[in-house]
Amino acid sequence: MSAWLYGQFDSSLNGINHLQGFQFIEQLPWIRLDLGSLGKLEIDYFLGVDGISLPLLILSAFVMLMAIGASWNITKNAKGYFALLMLLNTAVMGIFCALDFFLFYIFYEVMLLPLYFLIGIWGGANREYAAIKFFIYTLFGSVFMLLVIVGLYFSVTNPSTGAHTFNMLHMMNPENYVDGSFFAYLNNYYEVQGIPARMLGFIVLFVAFAIKVPVVPFHTWLPDAHVEAPTPVSIILAGVLLKVGGYGIIRVCYSIFPDAAAQANWWLALLGIISILYGALNALAQKDLKRMIAYSSVSHMGFVLLGVAALTAEGISGAMFQMLSHGFLSAALFFLVGVIYDRVHDRYIYNFRGLATHMPAYTGFVAVAFFASLGLPGFSAFIGEAFVIIGTFNAESVGTGIPRWMAIAGSVGILLSCLLFSVDLTAYVFRTDTLQRW
């Protein structure tokens, strides 16, 4: 189905902020509430696909297929399990297509529910804690997002009917804002604690998506959720759900609040750099394979934020590419950990030695996946990271306010992740102290 979409997609159309740029549009009026003298409330069932959602749709279809392949060994209540998996799939596809903010929010919330149960019921020993932590973190972000959505609803009118609307495309056009309303471009005197209203809206939405990405100060749910989740859910978490955050930042934060984004991008790039370095250093210190891959995900998603914040065509393309490549590479890595875990229910690095002679084909797959994910030229992660770095270097000359040292810090991040994977693969040959542990 998504392969057909790829074939039918016309790459010359450009989407983002006007209806003609979107393809495969489906628009049905859903809720029309007459508010008397205040006009009408408009909520549409409005879906469309453009160049940013299409690659992610294909990615999620692919990763979902992998996850179903990985759930072969699930025996506990398989019917409920697969029903939740399908619900999750629907919600994710919905998020990537939705062009009505209300619909987007609904899919966003629907996505949390199956994940909560998938982690809480089919997870590992400490699953309740991880599920609750995950749930509270994401809910915290999205509740404030709802406030911003309502604020936007009262600020934006549909030019053809004059009613207030949740249509995202109308929100992207400055002309549709009511003069003097809370999020208006012109005559906007609203401030909260000295922060202009539009900047505040941007920050709130950014935090909601940053929790999903996850960007460093908000990342602590991720390692817990990954470690406790069953293998297929880890695959989906890393492969698709982290991309919802990146997609949200591009589609919602940058397109609806471009003025605030242009001011804030230095800070976003800084957060990206911190994620890259902090994630890589943390991953180096982990003894649990799953936790290690989870932290390396934090590091890789930092590149996405850096690329988006660079605001150059290379940077944003690189960020999108990095999301795709991280999507299926981290899915493959989690799947590989799952292979070992299925067999002996243990995934501590020190508890294994000499797997290469014992499981040669497995080691081959691991080696390819590791090298691909550390950015060996010829594999997809390299292209993503290289384009992000190029975009960041270029950002100074275009004048987007991202200094060059940030690009250099990003390169250091690549080096660290190389170190990480090669240490993992080889260094245990030379370490005799590990033998005394058991």
């Binding site: 790459s11 999108m320 590419f321 299926f328 690095i349 000499g354 499981m359």
Partner: protein
């Protein structure tokens, strides 16, 4: 983890349990890693599809810089 003498924490029981990847696992892993290689060599498969959108986004934001 992968090189050196084969030694496992669980001893013989683990050595028997740790069979190599099965056909099902190969069927899943192979296309994934192949995709990584294909996209690494031909990134235009993705770049072409999203380029127009990305450029539009850049123009949308950069007018406020």
């Amino acid at each position: 983890m992968f090189f050196g003498q084969t030694r496992f924490k669980g001893g013989e029981a683990w050595a028997i349990a740790l069979t190599d990847v099965t056909l099902r696992e190969r069927i899943i892993l192979f296309p994934t890693l192949a995709l990584a290689l294909v996209l690494g060599i031909m990134p235009s498969l993705v770049f072409d599809k999203m380029n127009a959108t990305v450029l539009n986004l850049v123009t949308l934001v950069s007018q406020y810089l």
